[in-house]
Symmetry: D2
Subunit: 286 residues, 4 copies
């Protein structure tokens, strides 16, 4: 498998001929299409597409593809697009607090080379998990946060993220709400794991709420963070069956496995540039 | 398998010796225990138990078991209990409106002898599904309901249910809210199917709401109906994965299979006397 | 939703330009594409595609589409294709024996208009389920089969199927193995439900085998029937969790719900022309 | 929650009065029962039970419980039993080869205190994962194995396991078959993860076999290792849905999440003394 590929994520109003125009642009310039998935939202008349092609013999130089595609195709169809290169790894920062299960799951994947990503820094509002970051040789930055210093600390975090050239952030059970200002700085680039099948049990303590309500399933949801708490575009969800025998503690324990898998699935999709968020929903390509 | 069995459903404050006392009561009187399941809610200190035994050689006559058990055991431990005999089939009424999938699923099971139940009557607020009832040779009673006649029609329905000696009611996608008066007349004896993983998307049009929110799972919930809409004790829940490609129509279609299976599972558990509702939750025995 | 649409199922060796050529053929002739899904098997270099378009303004008359497509496109790319029209309902025969759960599930869907199909006849090697066919007003033909008369009876069945213009056959827990001659007459047009997650527990009595092995899951598989028993291309599979408490009888009971849902999902995909079988596997479009 | 508890795992031929006798033994001696689960295999007339009680006020001293229970109860009913104390952590050795996902999942749980276990040593037939063991501060012992030295190396491993007082072994994707002699030394004490839903795809390369067969689900199975390869008692199984689009590489990737979760669930049940193996099957208590 070559890594010398380009990936285009596209969405625009649906019109005849978009698919043909895009594939033609690639074919004519000697790009070999490795993957193509498209979907038309018939209700809202929107066209979505993800295409990946081999750049080995592609005649347009890398640094010109964006310009050429914009000029020749995108402008004609009012296409919004993002262009990625597979050999340029996205850079991720992880935010953690005191629970380590999601953190370990992500670091194990990272460490074994499962993911095409760089994780240069881990940020936390508690010092507790510094030793885990150290195990994996990753910088750990501690930002204690309270009502008084929140603005200031977030500003410092954002400065740090820029210093590390961070593309996206993963909240791995980070127990601190990001300010609207922060989330606006990273649109569709902050992934959170919520420990319920949203929109059930929004807010804190969803396992307690689930237990009190007597549900027979618990869930987890990975989603992009927006200013509206627990209401951002959903990437992945899954559930596990429970019974009356499960105490709140048992739910928390069972939930950990759900949380880490659902978060990691969402992060993997993001890393592979397979998620396209629009009007508070997502298109998740195969 | 003999049908000459008794089934006891028990709950009471947890104390030492309940389990031993109940099993001893059965053993000493020559009952052969076929099934026993018990569970202690440690948080609220409550004891729950379901036991079934062969009456073949049981020395207490059927009609005296309730009295003897109350006197000798239940009073001592403040036990609340229900006694059932397997060879006395519970009598069920089904309420339907215009959608037939849950109705067919239930009638197919009934007709093939899968369930130990009698279904002598089907009630509807629309005439549309009369032909289905007719196919299966079951009485079909049409009660058109509007704001003006609701009290009167419900009174007539309750009179009819008494006439048919109905033990419990199944709302098989019945699109009419029962009055508080009605639901109070059948505590933990009206089973509804809600087409969402409650408590997400309470109320009408949950598939529309799910689509608008962009969830990646749809669900269904069978529960006992209480005066508090969509908030009664949950018996069974399940979900199915969906994607961005699913329109509201696709959700409705996929949802039908969930609804019928989750409702039928809940009804089966009720028929087998394996559900015990308490403080808005259920214990569902294996 | 219009029913005046054409559906093309395509597969061929992968080459540059197929996707563009096919979509261009439709666009240029004023067909509005409603659905398009394609997939390239990179390992075997095979191209697969399903496309559906509105014929409202399509300039090639219906009866000429096959010829034009063959001449202009298919020959060029060595494409094998099947063309269907949505308003021509496929005609299905159902084969049953003594168990009714899959039969009822299919007839309920048929009767409520869920499926775009005609079911003019039900064939059985036992008379038991005639009354179910009668309930739904469908012809029921009884062909008792034993070693001596098998060839003759199958010949009579095939004659009957031709008389009814049957396109495909569904074995709804039909407990009689079809001869190689029979299955060869209906390639990728006989759908069976096997009550295990094939290839585990091939052959008869899979629930007994599953219980003996002590597995923690039971499964069901819908697949096309080939001369090689239980080895044909798989369309759909699903499983349910079980525990040590489940007896063989309990597995059979739980299995019924799996079987009917997995069979009906497979049949629905076939009816929608979304299944493409090749080298003993299937491509199942969304 | 106190850790000063005793856990009894019991099985014996079913007879009237066992349950009462066991609970009475505990009650009379002032043990407070915290957990009780029992099950009767009616087909084979076998009784199974797991009971855990608080030793705080228990009148029989710890070191005498085994003797008293044997004398007073077990002998009477031909009970086979195992007695455990919750505050005595079982000691586990992990065997690994080159794949790290199961190893990391286990070490993350261990490291965060999720499991009541000690893992003093990791054994491998390859040096590759030594750095992971080192991260977590656990001894790593490298035993290269080939046909010639296998007996000798296994003898050395067994000696090492004794030195470390190992109670049970977890094969975390250990790619070397243990000899019959080895597995006999640890009956129901070696847990393996097989990357298929056994008994489908026994042996090596199950993902390749699954892909070739065109199944729509992949699975994983955790089981006790016996002399009969891939045929030991199953503890946990689960599956994930796949499609025709998944290459063998994609199956391997998706399979990793299944493998680690299914193995860890099996190990957790073993650590909690909730698994009882008999005649090649398991009873897994809640």
């Amino acid at each position: 498998m070559t890594d010398n590929t380009a990936i285009l994520l596209i969405h625009c109003p649906d019109k005849q001929g978009i698919l043909a125009a895009v594939t033609d642009f690639i074919n004519v310039n000697k790009g070999n299409i490795l993957y193509l998935d498209q979907w038309v939202n018939k209700e809202e008349e929107l066209f979505f597409m993800r295409v990946e092609w081999d750049l080995g013999k592609f005649e347009i130089p890398r640094e010109k593809i964006e310009e050429y595609f914009a000029t020749l195709i995108a402008n004609r169809f009012a296409i919004k697009f993002n262009l990625y290169f597979k050999d340029i790894k996205p850079r991720m920062a992880m935010f953690v607090s005191k629970m380590s299960h999601c953190m370990y799951d992500i670091l194990a994947r990272y460490s074994s080379g499962e993911w095409n990503v760089e994780i240069p820094v881990i940020i936390s509002n508690h010092p507790d998990l510094g030793h885990v970051a150290e195990k994996f040789g990753i910088d750990f930055k501690y930002f204690p946060i309270n009502k008084e210093n929140k603005d200031e600390q977030e500003a410092a975090e954002i400065a740090l993220l820029k210093e590390y050239n961070i593309d996206f952030i993963v909240l791995a059970r980070y127990m601190q709400i990001l300010s609207e200002n922060f989330t606006r700085s990273y649109p569709n680039a902050v992934i959170n794991i919520h420990h319920s099948f949203l929109p059930a049990f929004v807010g804190a303590k969803p396992y307690h709420a689930a237990h009190a309500r007597g549900v027979k399933l618990i869930g987890a949801t990975s989603h992009y963070v927006t200013a509206d708490l627990d209401a951002g575009p959903i990437i992945e969800q899954d559930v596990a069956h429970i019974t009356h025998k499960d105490t709140v503690e048992a739910l928390i324990k069972k939930g950990r496995d759900l949380e880490k898998i659902v978060l990691s699935r969402g992060v993997a999709k993001h890393i592979e540039h397979k998620v396209l968020a629009y009007s508070n929903r997502t298109v998740v390509f195969d």
